[in-house]
Structure formats: C-alpha cells, structure tokens
C-alpha cells in the first residue's frame, strides 16, 4: 500500500450536510405545479447529491484487474466510454484517467481497497466528492436544452447510451454522460454549480422545466 495520507472526508450523519446546489434549489426551485397546465413539463432537472467521486489515474494495464475486483465494473478502455452497473459508474476521461462514481458513503472504503489492490504500481486515487456534484436532465426535451448549451453533438445517433465526454457547456466545462436511455447526467464543479443550475433553468424555461428538491442526504434518486 502506498505511503500517502488519506482520510474520511464525509462528515458523520449527525452533521447537517449541504450539497453545492443547496441554496440554488432552495431559492429557485420550480415544482411541477409551476409548469404550464396545458403544455406540462418536457424536461425535469434533479440533483444526485452526496455521491462518492474518485478520480483514478494510471495505465489501463495497471488498473484493469483492481477496478474489476474492487468496484465490480469493467474499466471502460475505449475513448469516451461509460460503464454503469448497480448504482456505480466508471467513465473514461483520458487514456490514463477515469472517474468512478459510487453510492453515498462508499468512496472511502473503495479508495482504501483500491490502494490495497494496486500495491506498489504507479497510480493515483483522489477523492473529489466534495468538489463536484451530479445533475440529471430527463424528459422528451432534455436533449434540446443540451443543444442550446454545448457544441457537443447530443443526437441519439452521435451520443448513444454508455457514452460520456468532457466538453464545453455554457462557457464552463462539464462531464456530459448518458447512463441510460431516459437520463442525461452532468457532472459539474462545485464553483460552477449555481451558475449552471440557473443557466439550465433559463434554457429549460420554454420547455416548462421543473426541479426536484431532495432534502434527504441518503436519497440518491435511483
């Protein structure tokens, strides 16, 4: 096991936690009741807060077996790949970099297990859970909201389920992913969270965008 200082970053459950979108959701939430009663809502936005995010770096040869053993999902080795299984996901970010997203609270144990499994190899695991959060967009007009925001081609032919890219989005950078046919996921930075949230509210207004406000810290909206 490598000689680095790691610690449990997640506060105890007794301490109130606030996601990067805490105030955005409080002040600017748009409930389904607010949508046009005739048109309804064609896009819904939701936050998947407090998930565990780990950046794992190293060559595929070094990481392949350890990731499979510890996380239980195959490492996506082709460019822009995204593997999703049982509430966990691994996204290809670069030829030597992947993002692992885990259910809330699993990141510390997973980091430890990965370090154990990787031993003396050259690699890096960094817990970035506090630095970013996940927004989901769903509904028939979700891709139209994306088309207004990113140069990335989001047509279903160009962006199939199981694809994830890092791209320009409303002048910031996001990780845009399609974990399943119904949802788009945006992994966004904490410092841009409120800005992007408001951008999406504005871009989604014509489609009657609605937001969910999930107070529950353990609710990962599965």
């Amino acid at each position: 096991m490598s000689n680095v200082a790691i610690f449990e970053q997640r506060a105890a459950d007794t301490i109130a936690a606030e996601s990067p979108l805490h105030y955005s959701l409080h002040r600017h939430a748009v409930s389904a009741q607010g949508a046009d009663p005739k048109e309804g809502s064609a896009v819904a936005m939701d936050e998947r807060a407090f998930l565990g995010h780990l950046i794992v770096r190293g060559t595929a040869g070094v990481l392949r077996a350890a990731i499979k053993q510890v996380v239980g999902i195959a490492l996506p080795e082709t460019a822009c790949g995204l593997n999703v299984e049982g509430g966990k996901s691994i996204q290809w970010l670069s030829p030597d970099e992947w993002l692992v997203i885990l259910p809330p609270g699993e990141e510390f144990a997973t980091e430890n297990a990965l370090r154990q499994a990787l031993g003396d190899n050259a690699y890096a695991v960094v817990n970035v859970s506090g630095g970013q959060t996940v927004l989901t967009l769903s509904g028939p007009s979700a891709h139209e909201v994306l088309m207004k925001s990113t140069p990335c081609d989001v047509h279903p032919h160009a962006f199939p389920v199981g694809r994830g890219v890092s791209t320009v989005f409303a002048k910031t950078t996001v990780l845009l992913r399609r974990p399943d046919a119904k949802h788009w996921e945006l992994v966004i930075r904490r410092s841009f969270a409120d800005y992007l949230y408001r951008w999406l509210l504005d871009a989604g207004e014509e489609y009657g965008i609605t937001t969910k406000h999930t107070e529950n810290k353990d609710n990962n909206n599965e």
Partner: protein, 115 residues
C-alpha cells in the same frame, strides 16, 4: 466553427474544446550547460512563422486534456493531420504541394489511418 480530430479521444470534436499551444517538435539542447547563448536563446524564444504547412501543438483543453500535434495550413486553416505526442508527421511540403486535390487525398489517407 470547425472540428478537430483528437488522436486520444479518437473522434472529431468542436474547435471550442481546444487551445493552440505553439510550434511543435522543438528540441531542447541535449546539454544545456554546453549550449551557446545563441542556441539556448533560439530554443527558448525563436519560433517559425511559416506561410503554409506548419506543425503545432494543440491541447484538448475541455476534453481529455492531452497535448497532441497538428499539421495544418496557416493560410487556408486546413488541417492535414493530427497525431500523438512522440509521433512524426506524414505530411510534407511535397504531399501538400499538388494543390487542392493532393490535399484532399492526404486528408482521406489520414482518416483511413486513424479510423
């Protein structure tokens, strides 16, 4: 807006995601202590500014964040080829010299190689 083929993401991506990082294939003097002021100065500060074929480093800043090389025409902005760090270009002044048709051929050849 145009598209650039990232050799690491292995696909065409919007130019907005990239930044140009200057001339490619600049060699650091092997033994800096022994380099003359002129050699060292040229390594640090002097860059080519050709009209026509030029090799540059670009970085996929909003994507995979890898540096790679681009061979492009500084007059028409046409990109002949993109290739990874450590690789050499297959495009020379000769291959781009027979006008528009030669260039199109070259681009097709590159696409086949990358596909």
């Amino acid at each position: 807006m145009f598209y650039i083929h990232c050799p690491y993401c292995a696909e065409q991506r919007s130019e907005e995601e990239f930044h140009c990082m200057g001339q490619a294939h600049i060699q650091r003097p092997e033994n800096p202590e022994a380099a003359s002021d002129r050699e060292w100065g040229e390594y640090l500060f002097f860059r080519d500014n050709p009209r026509g074929l030029h090799q540059e480093m670009w970085v996929h800043a909003a994507g995979c964040r890898k540096f790679f090389n681009v061979a492009r025409n500084t007059v028409s902005y046409e990109i002949f080829e993109t290739y990874r760090m450590g690789e050499q270009t297959s495009v020379t002044a000769g291959t781009t010299a027979h006008g528009r048709e030669g260039q199109v051929e070259q681009v097709h050849k590159v696409r086949r190689v990358r596909a």
